[in-house]
Subunit: 106 residues, 2 copies
């Protein structure tokens, strides 16, 4: 893994609180997304699920001792996933991530 | 009203469909926001209400024959409101708009 140099993230001191907070948000948003799906609010269920995914990605970054940097933090999180050893899973995640991100902006 | 020159909006041919679509989204999001509020999903109720407000602002722009331009379309919509004659209302709306926008990014 070569994580040192990027304009998309920076090294931070690992902080368990930060990880915990991001995971709680991811969990909460997954619940809210499902509730909205059940009520037929499909567009919002989608947006909220995207946010949940983003929070999980942030948790992974914080866990690794990094945080997203710059204007496009969503992109930074997706890009960061490329650094993980199980590359097939990472590629899959990035694919879904980018697809969801594009859909949100149409 | 001096609307001609701005890097935040541009003149378009007035299109009833565009106006209608934005108003329907505003209405839909207001409903979804209230549903989420009832379920205690306060953060999302807030974000969705913000989006409803943004859609109403877009409808007003389209109605006036303009559309937001550039990277920060949210800002463009809020700024556009300044051009409306009933300035007290516009100021109030911009105030709420900016406050909500800032809250969303914290």
């Amino acid at each position: 893994m070569n994580l040192e140099n990027s304009d998309k993230w920076e090294k931070i001191r690992r902080d368990e609180n930060l990880i915990e907070k991001a995971l709680l948000l991811a969990e909460r948003d997954l619940k809210v997304s499902l509730e909205n799906k059940k009520m037929g609010n499909n567009d919002w269920a989608f947006s909220i699920a995207y946010n949940s995914m983003l929070q999980s990605g942030r948790a992974l970054m914080f866990h690794s001792g990094y945080r997203p940097k710059g204007e496009y933090k969503h992109v930074a999180v997706a890009e960061f996933l490329r650094n993980f050893p199980n590359e097939k899973l990472a590629e899959k995640l990035i694919f879904i991530f980018n697809k969801m991100r594009k859909k949100r902006h149409t």
